[in-house]
Amino acid sequence: MSTKREELFADVDLSQEKLLNRLFHGLLAAASLFGLVMLALLLLDVLWESSQALLTFDIDIGQFLTGTSSSRAEQAGFGASILASIWLMVLTAVLAFFIAVGCAIYLVEYAPRNRVTRLIEANLANLAGVPSIVYGLLVLALIVNDAGLGSVILAGAIALALLIVPIIIVASIESIRAVPSSVRDGSYAMGATKWQTIRKVVLPQAMPGILTGTILALARAIGETAPLIMVGTLLHATRYPMGPLSDFSAMPTQIYNWTYQADRMFNGLAALGIVVLLVALIALYVLAGYLRRRYETEGGTISNV
């Protein structure tokens, strides 16, 4: 057979086609590696710079993690910023969670197919594309200045909450939709009202997905810098924040100010701060992954994009 085929196609020269295919394959593989290489460079750079900072400057890690920042690099710590970020995350989560879940429940369980619903849905897509700095401007004008709240943690949390509400809504809609309608019908058949069904049947099933989505959204919020800068942060977090109404500089804004300084030691502190920020991020991702695996049900997967 093969000899016959070779005879038949003896005049066909495929070497050029094969070369082209191999070249194209190589080109695509190389392009895919670009992202990996940049990611590796970024992580190595941060680790290298932070280890250099630890070796060059006499930095006490315990003091760095608990102390307040200072205009003098030798005395600057990250503790006040870590505390501010924790305050921010708690407030942001509380503010965003209920609004987002309420909106998701409305859209899945209640909303009639009409123009208002379509408007709400189209608007969600638009909100997700608004640059984060614009949320900062909104809060700066409306909350910080017009309402006179000042540049406090609560104002920052409002900006971050507005930013992540669309993200949580999308995740919540997905996991509420994933609850099979047979389960709802079963509840109705037992005589439950709509609200009872939602509260006792739908939400408990959808909650792991909703929580995973919320944690992933917080992972986005914890690194957000621009909205906080617009709201107004301290140049150096020299005081521990005592509550929602204290002025502050969170982890990312403190890192920005340290990076911006010309002083080499401040730049080193920024690298150490980034390590702390990335550890917090990884912790959030691990928690989300754990929740997802722990409660994974068929059809109930949540994408974070």
Binding site: F24, G35, C103, L281
Partner: protein, 357 residues
Amino acid sequence: MSTENQPGPGISGDDSLDADHEANRRIRRVFFSCALVTVLTTIAIFLVLFDNAASYFFGARISELIAGADLERTVTFGEFFSGTRWAPDHSTPAHGVLPIVWGTLAITIGAGLVSIPIGTATALFLSEYAEDATRNRLKPILEVLAGIPTIVYGYFAVSFVTPVLVGGIASNLINPAGAWLESISHLAPFVLEPAADWMMAQSVGRYSMLAGIIVVGTMTIPMVSSISEDAMQAVPDDLRNGAYALGATKYQVATRIVLPAAVSGIFASYILALSRAIGETMAVTLAAGFNANLTANPFDEIMTMTAYLVSMARGTSAVGTVEYQSLFAVGLLLFLMTLSMNLINDLLKRRFQEEYR
């Protein structure tokens, strides 16, 4: 999705049903107002930006104008849109927004030139070439690139991209090339001489346009690759098999079947990446700098619209100053730019969803 499964009133003759219905209606209203908050956010963004931007152009906010404040032209639209110098906070102020719009466009276009080809190639590789194991490992790693906070990219720009990458390109590539041009400049002195001089003069300071392009391009790769790959995966295998049956090679299937079939999804990913690049703030600020230059030289410092917003906030500009008002004029322009990108994206997405259902 609303289901009409509730029993009608009076079926069981129980009075508590009425209370249940009342409670249900109240709950429904609560959820509806949650949904309304998202719409109000958009309206608030529009109103607040317009209201405060008005004081930049007309000397008073719209709300104050309605209340009877005097209208005075502080900054004319002509100066704003056609002036070529941007320094609202300078002692001799200038209000031409072009330099910072150019800064934003330069970064956006440059980042697109990085992320669009690389992202598309990555998507093609993942969708058409990679083994399942490779794909399942590579895709999440690439998505980490999108999950890293932008401030970290900013630090990366300051500590590595600018001094090592961009500095290396300038001193190891451009300067020697200029020296080589100099050595052969007798061939065409009027063209080669200035080019050689320019190339030998390039060096990199703390900030450069090219550094901004590299970091923003890198961070938008996963948006292009991830969404494009989804679009390519949605192309039915029948189309591929049909092409193979006609004797097409893998290269031909990838470029002439998969790419055209997934084109609207791929374009949507481009728009999304560009829109993200327009609004990108921290990485661009720390990479490209704070100097509103109207320049096309990638080794020069430039300022984007977002970098201007950050630089003004740093100065804790007080309410009522022209710096404070200019924040909202620039913010409004930025918002309108990304809004139009998002609307285009929405349009493409809807077309894409309709194709292979």
